[in-house]
């Protein structure tokens, strides 16, 4: 079957197997599912991180407020005496 003119093989074009499109579709669905589960992981992680950050912020703001009130109380005590 070698092409006698220049020595290159003459190869018949063949059709791809029928199952290939089904295989590609299921692979694409799998990829979509993987992407979705990754999205869920990222959203879950972001939620946890934001809850922690929010808690830290709330606690630190409470910490800042406490000495100020104490100082106010002390000054009022001094004023009264």
């Amino acid at each position: 079957m070698l092409n006698k003119e220049d020595g290159y093989p003459m190869i018949t074009q063949v059709d791809p197997p029928d199952f290939l499109l089904t295989r590609i579709r299921s692979k694409l669905e799998q990829i979509q599912r993987d992407k979705l589960s990754w999205k869920r992981v990222v959203v879950g992680f972001a939620t946890v991180v934001s809850v922690i950050v929010l808690n830290v912020w709330v606690f630190s703001s409470q910490e800042e407020q406490r000495p100020a009130s104490l100082v106010a109380d002390e000054s009022s005590l001094i004023y009264e005496s």
């Binding site: 290159y8 018949t12 074009q13 290939l20 590609i24 692979k27």
Partner: protein, 177 residues
């Protein structure tokens, strides 16, 4: 028109071309199926990024060539690793081309073994011009080089291939004695 319909249309239009190119690149149907699958997954993933600077067929052929090269590199790596592991199955790509008649398989397999020893660019130029019979300008667009550069790659590839085939012929003749 939904994305799925567009994808199916693209598949039906180009699957035969991609599958045959993969077959002519790697020489066996299992790898060609995998390359076709990977090519169309890549097409599906980046269809929205396709900027229509080139024809769709050129773009898809380019992806198919990259996937074929990746597949062969993976095989070579596996073969190299199996050198250290004697128990591992030898993953040498066997020749199984459904487009070649059974009585010519050995002859064409010999040709493909010579072709596989060429540098990637020379091999690609030869496969596209001499086996796929594409026009020089089309090959130049696919490979992203000038038509002159393709001509030179084909000429060098032809010369190297002849050398490899002659060498193989001599070796085979010596083995037959």
């Amino acid at each position: 028109m939904t994305n799925q319909t567009t994808f199916d249309e693209i598949y039906y239009k180009f699957a035969k071309r991609v599958y045959n190119l993969a077959l002519n690149y790697c020489g066996n149907s299992e790898d060609a199926e995998e390359i076709t699958q990977d090519t169309f997954i890549a097409v599906h993933e980046s269809l929205s990024d396709f900027r229509q600077e080139s024809q769709l067929s050129t773009w898809i052929t380019r992806i198919a060539i990259h996937k074929s090269i990746d597949c062969l590199r993976k095989k070579k790596r596996k073969r190299w690793l199996s050198f250290f592991d004697q128990h591992q199955e030898n993953s040498l790509p066997h020749f199984n081309h459904p487009g070649v008649q059974l009585e010519h398989q050995e002859e064409v397999a010999n040709f493909f073994q010579g072709l596989n020893q060429l540098p990637e660019q020379q091999k690609t130029a030869l496969v596209l011009t001499k086996i796929e019979c594409l026009k020089m300008t089309e090959v130049a667009e696919i490979m992203g080089i000038s038509a002159k550069a393709v001509e030179s790659l084909v000429a060098r590839g032809k010369m190297n291939l002849e050398k490899k085939l002659n060498l193989r012929g001599i070796n085979n003749a010596q083995n037959d004695k």
